[in-house]
């Protein structure tokens, strides 16, 4: 079927039920935001008439994709909005120059990461300096209060082939590569502990930040580069694993981009581990630990439609208590919550979650929070002050590779 026929049928599938808008985290806190139904399929019928409508407001869409997973008709609502933004950009509509430059930069997380990790120490000092942050706000519209994550020495790729029978390819993603390499190392360690050789090709950004900032075509170009890097492993039937839920969602959408990519087996880390568990191949040589955790499910994990495999898996560990917080979106949505005109919307969206986290921590219901998404971790720490890490660290602790998850300090800084 042609792209255009497909597009026409997807638009036709909308029966105007408004479930998307009812579930939209932005529409819930911002009464001026008309929601995904109007900006997506409703406006699309007018866009086909050549009218640019709602473009400026559409930049308030956080691209969390809650609408797409909510839609009972399979309408690609976020994609529709993003494509409209891209078309508007061609005809220079909708954004100020300042915001265009900022969004151009935020879309390129990979290059920002490369630049920032030349001298990560200097970058981090600057990012913490109030004066520098004021300048960033004035010049680029990056909110001075926003929790920009610190940078670390780059996560290293490894492609050595030791001819082991059990191999996986790991897709670290920009957050692990530039901001949180220790979590990447932890994921590699857990996979190795389960008998897998871990190959890490020099992947590029998955494309989500580009898409989120309105660069759909460029995102697809980046995706194709990654697919080319995956090609030999795909042919050998080696699965692709990521611990980042936004990268994971993007990778699941890759097969539509290239014919040969149909055999791409993309897994979320815990989804993969759970399959091992079902095949009785998951190692459960756990140490005795006593931890209680609050779990936050990121929007992009939900959009993958695979449930919450990390919660299921961690509950296998004796002494581990996991409470699913179930308070919706954290609000950050990648770079969305860093933008000065959206920072407050993002904080509003996250409010129920932050309150729940603070309350749970105060009642000693749990000591810290786990969530797969790096952005959510940053935002929950910022909004609630409670330690938030990737769930792989619980496994690390249970396997005895790492001492106690402590509260108040960044766990990953205590590895090794």
């Amino acid at each position: 079927m042609s792209f255009e026929q497909d597009k026409a049928e997807i638009l036709d599938a909308c029966i105007k039920c408004s479930a998307c808008t009812a579930m939209c985290p932005v529409a819930a806190v911002n009464p001026l935001f008309p929601g995904p139904k109007i900006l997506g399929p409703d406006a699309e019928r007018f866009r086909l008439e050549g009218l640019q409508i709602g473009t400026t407001l559409s930049y308030y869409c956080s691209k969390c994709k809650t609408c797409e997973i909510t839609c009972p008709s399979g309408v690609k609502i976020t994609e529709m909005i993003t494509r409209a933004q891209e078309d508007a950009k061609m005809s220079e509509g909708g954004k100020t120059l300042q915001f265009s430059i900022r969004d151009y930069l935020f879309g390129r997380a990979e290059y920002l990461g490369k630049l920032a990790t030349v001298l990560p120490g200097l970058t981090n000092v600057l990012l913490k300096a109030p004066l520098f942050r004021q300048i960033l706000e004035q010049t680029l519209g990056i909110c001075s209060e926003a929790p920009l994550p610190a940078y670390h020495t780059k996560f290293e790729t490894a492609e050595k082939d030791r001819k082991s029978k059990k191999q996986v390819v790991y897709f670290p993603g920009c957050f692990v590569t530039y901001n949180d390499p220790l979590t990447g190392q932890a994921i590699v360690k857990v996979l190795k502990h389960n008998g897998y050789e871990v190959i890490v090709p020099p992947f590029h950004c998955c494309g989500t930040p580009l898409e989120g900032n309105g660069y759909l075509r460029e995102a697809q170009e980046t995706a194709k580069k990654n697919l080319a890097l995956m090609e030999p492993y795909m042919r050998a039937g080696i699965p692709l694993i990521t611990g980042c839920t936004s990268c994971g969602l993007a990778l699941r959408e890759y097969p539509g981009l290239a014919e040969s990519a149909s055999e791409l087996q993309a897994y979320d880390l815990f989804e993969f581990l759970w399959e091992l568990q079902e095949r009785n191949e998951f190692r459960k040589d756990f140490k005795d630990i006593q931890v209680s955790l609050g779990y936050h499910s990121s929007c992009h994990l939900k959009a993958q439609g695979i449930g919450t495999p990390s919660v299921r898996l961690l509950r296998l560990i004796p002494g581990v208590q996991v409470t699913d917080l179930d308070q919706g979106c954290c609000g950050l949505s990648g770079s969305y919550g860093f933008k000065k005109e959206k920072y407050h919307t993002a904080m509003q969206i996250g409010k129920p979650l932050f309150n729940r986290v603070r309350q749970g921590a105060a009642n000693s219901e749990f000591q810290s929070v786990i969530t797969e998404c790096g952005g959510c971790q940053v935002q929950i720490r910022h909004g609630s002050g409670i330690e938030t890490v990737h769930p792989v660290w619980v496994l690390m602790q249970a396997y005895g590779f790492f001492q106690l998850l402590s509260s108040g300090r960044h766990a990953s800084s205590e590895l090794v």
């Binding site: 029966i15 105007k16 008309p34 409703d42 406006a43």
Partner: protein, 537 residues
């Protein structure tokens, strides 16, 4: 008893065109319409503003009229017209001889055509069949029937013209072989009264023979039913015609937010026989598939039918051959009953096409003016239909309604735009879209509901496009009810309004119940039959 120089019967495009023309010449005129303006044939067509190319071979006279009027209307009513351009495409089933004949005929009628390569055509219209052999570009365009009829009515009003909707002309009043007035019934109140006048213009289209029949004058008007399909979205960017002798289902017209495929042709006995039938729908789909191969997967939101009032000049041909609709001239006839039947003060205008409504109005008005001794010439070919909308209103609308197609709203509202925008400014909640499919704000619906010439929810629909989009009234119908409740002295019981409106929608949905529209209808049924417990009486 009321008085007017001229009474016009019929509030379709021709009738309002005459009202405007006469009013601009300073001749007092009153238009009587039994329903709402444009409720009949003038809104039940494909919305094509002909370039004339479709008639070039068979009816060169009509073709020449069309291209002239096409250019005039693009000048005077650009807000009602979308200058999409059109194509004539030859498929494998269409004869090459006809193509040669057609290109010559277009040249003779001075219709500019230019050929483009099939590969370029397929790139520009990706949903079109890849099997087309030749493609020609013509100056076809699309026209919004509702909008242009209302624009004429409003313009006429500015010149002192009057119109009364839901007023039925019961019979003509004669004195000594001269029509001197019209006995009229207000269908809303039941009140009957007489309007006296010097001249009656019968512009009632498919109902024209009923009007002359009241004084025993026969008028040969054939009711030719045409059924069309409305697709959920714009599938093409331009009008697409099959390059062959005109037949059923061979024109696709991108119209506002939808695409219309038409048209069938079948003689019926009365103008009321306008229920689209399943066989007609199937026929359209079968033929349309040659141009739009994915047709079964493109959502059809409704089917609708209009009645073409065709005029057959020779009284001798019996109307038995019901397949002959296309062979009767699509040109119009002005009948001065003084010359034809010896009855003074009565002119009938029958036949014709939407594209030539202005020309028809001009010819009628010239004749009326001549009879009344007026020397003022016609100005409708040069004077803009729409008053200039001040710049500050464009800005204000864009600011208050940041995601709505505000230009469309301004063009619909014209001089009422200011008050609607002020209301939204006062209460921003009224800037929310009451009809989300066609993006009509609560404030605009409220304004339409309070207009003195609005009496039913369907009148609001014709003025605003409420309920005409994807959901076919599933959500906007119940949302509009509270606004009617506020003016309940004007409206029927809300139960009746609700039921009538839904039944009108249902009439068009029933023959296209498959795929996504079936899902939509199930949702609608859940809302009204289950949650709101709406039942048949």
């Amino acid at each position: 008893m009321k008085e007017s120089k001229v009474v016009i019967i019929g509030g379709g495009a021709t009738g309002v065109g005459i009202l405007r023309d006469l009013s601009m010449r300073g001749i007092s005129a009153l238009l009587l319409e039994q329903g709402d303006l444009a409720h009949g044939t003038s809104s039940r067509f494909h919305g094509l503003l002909h370039s004339g190319a479709r008639y070039a071979v068979k009816d060169p006279g009509s073709a020449a009229e069309c291209i002239d009027e096409n250019l005039i209307l693009k000048q005077i009513a650009p807000h009602c017209i979308s200058d999409t351009g059109g194509w004539f495409v030859q498929t494998r089933d269409d004869s090459p001889e006809y193509v040669e004949q057609w290109t010559k005929a277009c040249a003779n009628a001075h219709i500019p055509i230019s050929e483009i390569s099939p590969s370029e055509a397929c790139r520009k219209e990706p949903l079109m069949s890849k099997d087309v052999l030749r493609v020609f570009e013509v100056p076809d365009a699309t026209v919004d029937g509702f909008k242009i009829v209302w624009a004429n009515a409003k313009s006429a009003k500015r010149y002192g013209g009057q119109f009364k909707t839901y007023h039925q002309a019961k019979r003509l009043i004669m004195e000594n072989n001269r029509v001197v007035g019209v006995s009229t019934k207000n269908l809303l109140t039941g009140e009957e009264f007489m309007v006296s006048c010097d001249i009656v213009v019968n512009a009632s289209g498919a109902w024209a023979s009923h009007v002359t029949g009241s004084i025993g004058i026969p008028l040969d008007v054939i009711c030719d039913k045409g059924t069309l399909l409305a697709f959920n979205q714009r599938l093409f960017q331009r009008v697409i015609n099959r390059l062959r002798p005109s037949g059923d289902g061979d024109i696709f017209v991108p119209h506002e937010t939808i695409t219309i495929l038409g048209t069938t042709s079948e003689f019926v006995d009365s103008p009321e026989e306008n229920d689209p039938q399943e066989e007609e729908v199937n026929k359209l789909l079968e033929i349309g598939r040659h141009v739009l191969p994915g047709i079964m997967k493109n959502r059809v939101i409704r089917a609708f039918s209009g009645i073409r009032p065709l005029h057959r000049e020779d009284h001798d041909v019996p109307g038995v051959n019901k397949e002959e609709g296309r062979n009767v001239s699509r040109s119009f006839a002005l009948i001065d009953h003084e010359l034809q039947d010896g009855i003074q003060g009565l002119i009938s205008i029958v036949g014709g096409k939407f594209t030539t409504y202005r020309l028809m109005a001009e010819k009628v008005s010239d004749r009326v003016a001549e009879k009344l001794g007026s020397m003022t010439p016609c100005r409708t070919a040069t004077e803009d239909l729409l008053p200039v909308i001040p710049e500050h209103l464009h800005k204000k609308a864009a600011q208050l309604l940041p995601y709505a197609p505000v230009e469309k709203m301004l063009e619909r509202l014209q001089e009422d735009a200011e008050s609607v925008l002020t209301e939204i400014q006062r209460d921003p909640r009224k800037g929310q879209m009451l009809c989300e499919c066609e993006m009509v704000s609560a404030a605009e619906v409220e304004k339409a509901a309070s207009d003195e010439d609005t009496h039913h929810l369907a009148d609001i629909r014709r003025k605003t496009r409420l309920g005409m989009g994807t959901c076919q009234g599933a959500f906007c119908t119940y949302r509009a009810l509270p606004l009617l409740w506020d003016k309940k002295e004007k409206y029927d019981a809300l139960q009746d309004e609700l039921r009538n409106f839904l039944n009108q929608r249902w009439k068009g949905i029933r023959p296209v119940l498959w795929g996504q529209q079936l899902r939509e209808t199930e949702l609608t049924r859940a809302i009204y039959a289950s949650i709101l417990q709406v039942r048949e009486n």
